[in-house]
Structure formats: C-alpha cells, structure tokens
Amino acid sequence: MKKTFQFLSLLIVISLLAACATPTPPPPAATEAPAATEAPAATQAPAAAEPVKLVIWWWGEQEAPGAQKWMDETIAKFQEANPNVTIEAVLQSTDTLIPAFKSAAAAKEGPDIQYFWGGVWTLEDAWAGSLVPLEDLIPQDELKHYINNFERTWDGKQWGTGWYLSGNPMVFNPDLFTQAGLDPANPPKTWDELKDACTKLNGIGVTPIAGGLKDGWFGGWLFSILARQTHDTEKDFMAASVGEMKFTDPNFAEWWSRLNELKEAGCWNKDINSLDYQQGQDMFVQGKAAMIFGNDTFLKGWADTIGWDKMDVMMVPKYGTGKLADTYIVTAQGMGITSWSKYPKEAAAFLMFMHTPDRLNAWFQDTGVFPADDRFDTNLITQPIMKKIFGWDTSVAGANLENFIPSMLDEQSNFAGVQLLFAGDKTPEELAALAEEVIAKWREQNPDALKNFEIWAK
C-alpha cells in the first residue's frame, strides 16, 4: 500500500512537471489555407494512381427520412465515376454525432468528411483546427450556388458547405382548428390570437401545442423561434455572447415572459417535461395536438402517415416588432472536410458531386427536403404546402439563432431554463439572469473561443 501511494505520488509529480513543460504545437492558424493547386473538376476526383478511401460520418436520416437511400445512391454513382475512390459512410445517432467527432478530433483520426449543423456547430470545430477552409478546394463559381454560406463563414473563409435546408414552420391540423371554431384559412398571426386559439382548442379537449423537453433540444428551438422577435439581426446575440450587450436587457429577456404566457394560457401538453422532443412531435402526428413548432424536413414523412390534408403551415405568430419576427427560420445543414484528411481534394470532389443537378433533384424526390443549392429544379415542387415553404425560404429566410450562440449557453440556459420554466421553478426574470450568468461563465472559461466569437461577431 505504501508503495502504491509512492507510485501514485510520483505519477502526479511527473504530470505536474510535464504540464509546465513546452506547450503542444498550435493547430494550423485560422487564416492559413492548405497549399493550393488547380481546382478539381466538378464531378471527378483528381487523377490519382493510389486507391483512395474516404470516410464520411453523417447525420440526417433522422431529420430527412430518405437521406440514407440518397446517400447510398450518391456514393455508388461517385465511385462509378471515380473507380479508385471508395467511400464508407457511417450514419451517426443524434447523441453520438458531436461526441464521436470530438473524440476523433482529439486523436486527429477519423472521418474525412463530417456532418455539421450550421453556425457555431461548424465553427467551434474550425476554431479547434479540425476543419480546412474550402476556398482552394471548391471554386468560388461553385460555392456561390450554395445557400446559407454565411453560417459557415468566419474570418473571410468558408469552413463547410450546405447540404439541405431545415426550416421551422408552425404546423397545424386544419380539422382540429375547424372543430374548435378556428378558421384554418386564417390561422393566428398575433400573440393574442395564438392564446385565444389555445383557449378554444382546450375547450374541445385537444392539446393546443405539443412539445417534449426532456432531452433538452426543443428548449433550444423555442429560444430560436421566440427570442428572435425583438431583434433585427442575429448579430445581436453574438454581441451579447461577447459581452457587448446583456441577456438581461429587456429585448433579450422578453421571450421568457412570452413563453410563460403561453404556459399560463394552457397552450402546452402537461407532460412536456417528461417527453423527449420526438415524442412531443409524435403527438401532432397522432392527432393529439393541434399545433407543433415543427421542422419542414418532417412534413413529407408526416404526410405519408396522415396525409397532406391533415396539416398546414403558418409563420409563428408575432409578439415582437423586430425584423426577425417576420422571417422564416431556416438553416443549411452541411458538411466539412477534416484537417487530418489525407484526401481533401477527393473529399471536396465528393461534396461538389452532391451538388450536381441530378443529385440535387434526387435529394428532393427521395426526402421531400429542399437542397441547399439554388440550382435545384423548383419545378419538382408540386405540393402546395411545400411551395409555400419554399417561398418563405427564398423571400423571408432568417437565421436559426441557436447557431449563433455558444453551445454551452444553448444547453445550460435554453435547454435547462425552459425545463425550469415549465417545472415552475424559475421566473422569466430569473431565467434571463441565468442566461447572463452562463454566458459570463463561458467567457471566463473559454478565452480562445471568445476571441474567435469576437472576430465572427464583426
């Protein structure tokens, strides 16, 4: 036992000495680009004698059912066009998508291409040196067609590409609206109209709005959907993250009170805190709830189950007068190329192949989800609800706020805070204060990320 203690003590001393030793070499600086060569052709990888294996870790079947089929087909076609390239695609679960990549990044081993949500979900890993900028891998003429590039732009460089669009309409059941005495052709547009609709729907024994908060994600959605309405730009939230504004300022804090109003008006299912996000969404499909803050990527799947006539979409009713209140939330989910990939050019070639016209149209046909590319053949959109959404995507699109704040703030304030609001444990004012405490803690614990955020916020 004495010897064990001596050994452990020696281990700790060695560790302390090593911790003070020469620091590890820094990752590639954000402004350095990999050595440039001529841009590859759009659908073919550069001629290479050696066999090339690309590994893709991706997510998306969960959000856009049919994505797996499309991915398998796309890989097969790319491999046919590039016989020396083989691609292994691994579909990640929602819970493993981020931690698996962080582990790979720590070991500098893993996928060549990684799936990312937009904004900070991509850029945190770019700041950590895990991604390469794409300017020298994908020509500007190609990049300009990709939608929502701004979500992946930092320090003047593009750190990933968009793949498909994911928007957040408010989805409602016209039949239940009619039963409650509401006009489905004229859904609620204002906050008071929404609360009135909740009262009427409760009157017929139907849950007005369904949700599930147990796994936290829906809390982040509610932040993005509601907190935007008192702002003109998502840059306000970036400014508050770096300390130039405060989350306790009235225009930041108001959304907590508005959410509480909906709760007090009986708009939500009582078991919201004990259901997962998906279970909450399922309540709408099962006809147990009249409205849902949904995702337009699910609509085709829902329609396959309940029919297009059992749903319609509306913009989120307004309480605020900021410019963002009139926008339709849409983000481009996408991909990035890792800094340890031995075949970045081949990886870029595959990303560009995903954006060829045949693949863009096939994506929409397989999933019913819009690709993040303006070369998509819009004649393929025949369903009226999808036409309505596409109109919003192209005319009144606005940023998804969750992508413009640190993930720690999203989880420790939005996820946890919304749960506490519905549990009745904290007031809206206390939750605004919690957000400010969390962001102050984030700034103190993450000096490097703070610097990067400051650059980004400009």
Partner: protein, 323 residues
Amino acid sequence: MPSRTSKSGLNNPDASLTIRKGGGLPLPYRPRKKFWRKLEPWLYLAPMLIAILFVFGYPLVSLIILSFQRRLSGVNTFVGLTNYKALFKDDVFLQAVKNNLMLVITVPIMVFIALILAVFLFERIRGWQLYRTTLFLPYLLPITVVGLIFSYIFQLSGVLNEFLNLIGLNFLALDWLGSTRYALPTLMFVIIWKEVGFGVVLFLARLMSVEEELFDAAKIDGANWWQLQWNITVPQLATVIEFFTVVSVITMLSWVFNYVFVMTGGGPGNSTMVTELFVYLMGFRYNQMNIASAVSVLLLLVTGFFIFLELRLRAGTSAAEVS
C-alpha cells in the same frame, strides 16, 4: 552470509564445504541466482504491466496534465489550479456534486434492503431459489434498457400514473421525471431496484457459509429472531457489508452516467446532473476538455480514496483473521 575475505568466502575454493544447512549438502552462496529469482516473476508480469501502463497509465498522465492547462491562443498552456478554481464557482458542477452525494445517501438504504432480503431468503422460505433469481435479474439487465423502460413508466402519462389514476390514487400520479423535486428520488429508486440484487446475492452467499451450529447454539440459549440477526448474522456479514457498501459508494459517485443520460439527460433544469455527465458535456459538447479533465481528476481522487479504504479494511480483516 560468509565473508568474502574469510576462509569461507567466495574466493575460497573450499567455501562450498563450510556452509551447511540442516545437516544436508552445503549450499554454495550464489547472489546472481538470487537476483534472477527475484526478477523472474516481474519478467512474467512485464507484458501485462506494459499493456496496463499503456492503456491506463498514458491516458491518466495525459488527463492530469490537461487538467492543469487551458487553451490560450491555440496552445495548451499551463495555468496551475485555474481550472479547479473555475469548477468551484460553477453552479452546474456544484449541483452535480450535490446530486452525487445525495445518491450516496441511498447506499445505507440499499444495504439495509439487501440485508433484509438476504436474511429472508436464508430462512429458506418456499420458492427461495426462484426469489433469489428474480431479485438478481435486474442486476443482469443492461442499464440502458432499464433506463429506457423506466423512463416510459415514469412519464406523467406513463404506465405508473395510469395505474394510480385507475385505482383512485390520483394524488400520487406525479411528474416523476419532469419535476425538479421528484426526478432525483425517482432515479434513486431505479438505481436501488437494479443494484440491490447484487447485495442480496453477496450476503446470501456469505450467510450460507456460516456454520449452522452458531445459530443452533444461539437458539438453544433462547435467542429470538432479532437477537439472532443482530448478534450472529450481522457480525458474520461484516466484511461483505463493508465490501458492498464501498462498491456501492463508488458506483453512486462514478457509475451512474447511463441511468442519468437515458432517463433524464441531467434535467429537468440540471436537477439530476451528476459529475460523470458534467465531464461528458464539458469535454464532448462544449469543447472544454481541460475543465472536463479537472473534474475527472477530482473524481479519480475521490473514488481512489474509497478503493484505498476498502483495501485497508480488507487488509485489516485478513490480519485479524490470521491472528
């Protein structure tokens, strides 16, 4: 040992004739052979030791190093105790520690339940073998499966509440997992339900090795049931109770991640956050590997203390038995 300079030393060709042992053939003095004899077991152990050092030792050293560093200008820089100080100002971490300590409070309850059940099974009631198997079965189930099933059972509109409403006990149909007040106790219940079987089997196995004459003699002397348990059963089970208690404490401090992750995700509102989940979130969601490392080091020290305690108790017990 014979002196080298004496007639009986190494250089003395007659040395082998001067050393005698037990009247048998004289044993020549051979220090080199003694050295190899001492070294031999270590040579056999070396491959495994190297593997263990590589698999556990290297990450452990890296972990400790990381905990004293922070990323500044893209470089991991030594910052002393900054990460540790930051932890003790972090409300979420402090909540996690508090919750782990609350879980430790369930250990005496678990030990007591396991003891009572083992004693009843030892009474050899009819069907005791079936009961033993039934009690041990939860312990064999994967935690993820148990967590998933109970997360459905304990939903506000779940099976339990539906049943309680059906039998008129509506006032008990609470939001077990959705309320900050009830989520942690609900988790405790599930953990006890799953882990108590291990204690039952341990205690029962020990009881079955106790000499029956002890119980018979006590009964002859007029001891009642309670006196039998207090004066014979519990003392006989002392070492096993110690072991199960220490193992359970270590479990509550560092082996509840799966329960929490599956059933509550640390919510609602961090009310079921535990240190392991905090490490996971810090390291793999928020990109703060240094802070996660600091928490891991603290967890290692605390669990290391309890492991040391168990080994000391065990050594003390063995010494007492020998004497």
